[in-house]
Symmetry: C2
Subunit: 355 residues, 2 copies
Amino acid sequence: MHKRFGHDKTGLETRFDAQRIAFAPIVFQATRLLRSTGLLEAVEGRGAEGMTAAEAATETGLSSYAATVLLECGLSADLVAYDNGKFVITTLGAFIRRDEMTAVNMEFIHEVCYLGMHKLEDALKLGEPAGLRVFGEWKTVYEALAHLPENAKSAWLRFDHFYSDAAFPAASRIVLERQPKTMLDIGCNTGKWASLCLARSPELCASLVDLPNQLEMAMQNLREKGLGDRAVPCPVDVLDPHAELPSGFDAVWMSQFLVCFSEDEVRTILRRAGRALRPGGRLWILDTFWDTQRFDAAAYCLINTSPYFTAIANGNSRMYRAEDILALAREEGLALQTTHERLGIYHSLLELAPG
Amino acid sequence: MHKRFGHDKTGLETRFDAQRIAFAPIVFQATRLLRSTGLLEAVEGRGAEGMTAAEAATETGLSSYAATVLLECGLSADLVAYDNGKFVITTLGAFIRRDEMTAVNMEFIHEVCYLGMHKLEDALKLGEPAGLRVFGEWKTVYEALAHLPENAKSAWLRFDHFYSDAAFPAASRIVLERQPKTMLDIGCNTGKWASLCLARSPELCASLVDLPNQLEMAMQNLREKGLGDRAVPCPVDVLDPHAELPSGFDAVWMSQFLVCFSEDEVRTILRRAGRALRPGGRLWILDTFWDTQRFDAAAYCLINTSPYFTAIANGNSRMYRAEDILALAREEGLALQTTHERLGIYHSLLELAPG
């Protein structure tokens, strides 16, 4: 693998980078507010001429004090420059003001992760999502989701959807190219994937695996689209290692599913998923692996989502490398056929078969 | 002023920098734990050969999962590199493991600021330290200090002392060079400055201004050093703009004092401080101004301490520029004589006189 993330640094740069990390939570909060209060927009509106903190305060309805504190933080983080008493937008400031992915990430971190991340140490030592207690007494974020405060819930859903759905169209073309007649959709969630495949492939039948409540919602969605007669609900708790899956499928599918489980759990899921295939069938795993990313920024986002799984989601899973999953698959007698790279945002599709 | 903080960036770098800010709280917490759990130390101990996550787990007593999550975050933040299954320390990782200032800053941010910073928006809009409520119902951190949890209190004191004391020896040489016979020490705190000057200058008499409780502690400290007979306590609440100060002093002194007050409050303090001087006397202001720093990293730390004043300390002060203070001083008829630069860590000493 090429060298990621680092580059040679001077002593001064090293010192500065250390302080960037030390004050990171402050810069995060200030940046979020520079965006949400409209300060970045106001400053950008003045172009190269820029504006004083007092003018920015008037335009945004903030106090002059508040505008000064935030704009100076923005200066330190290179979101604005400062020249002759005036703040001027930078490339980074303009990007952060506009970029949807940055906004989705920041709101997810602020609303869902920020407070609980203070308990990361407990979570790592206990193997429990100790930060989830910020919201109440639940074992996993999945149980808690419906009960989260509105801001946290919508930030969670927006983050989840932003990354999960974009890869489905391209992935379905690849999977359906092999003309499967039967598909097992493990962790079917809202039924979105099954719905796409059933609509595109009129001879396909899909069996959906999830917890009962989730299955009901998925089946309801499929019925509304007139696809319910080719879908079979299979209520299985895959966390129970003795709960077998139905078998004989041309295709077994898992999308952003293994990321929710510990390595030991992933191993038992792969074992049973492999047994669910008929001879010649394929196991398809769509996920966001940090080691298959072309850009460091993408790997950075994925890696730093792992502590969310630790402190908030479940206490024992993480954003895996494709190599982590493939090593576990090999132990369970599953061999990689092809890796389909760069579907949607950040996704890779692993194609495996027993052998 | 030279251009601070920014440099020209490619589109990819801009994207990455935006995500660095979006995930900043995660990287902060992971870095803190990489240091405190001993992972950085373990990895550094293996030098260029490096070690696997499993080996690092064994050596630190963490689970393999915990070591993997933290080391991968460390990889993304360039604290460790990853090569052939092994993690190897980087220059930045080794620096963060050792550097005392980074440790002092990180613990201050984690223990004192982190949780309250979630309320930065409320604090800015209300002009109140809304984040202080994390610890209880107080109006300022100064009232709260004695009641903070032990970790928070010791992190606060360590941060405060790390920056405040280092400049005193050099500053006292400059101030005493003018051979003042009388000095007014506004915001005398524990009496450390007065003690230093009285010990070094046997003919000096000092009048100490602070709140009564604080004054008692300062006088006690001076008496223990045999300096109490040349010190006069003057209990004054400088926040009351009608509370006059004693007058006729050769030197009026304020060290890291104005940073605790809003601009309007600073103005009334400077007005009364100027009136306390005898003709030919000097007003001395020792503080950490971000615009007089030689290094961007120093300005960065100072600027990003401002939101601590907003959200935790008092809701209305900030780390000022020397130019902010000098502009207010000019309005109050005080003119800069000399700026003495780079005393201790980050400090400048402003020498002013009526004129």
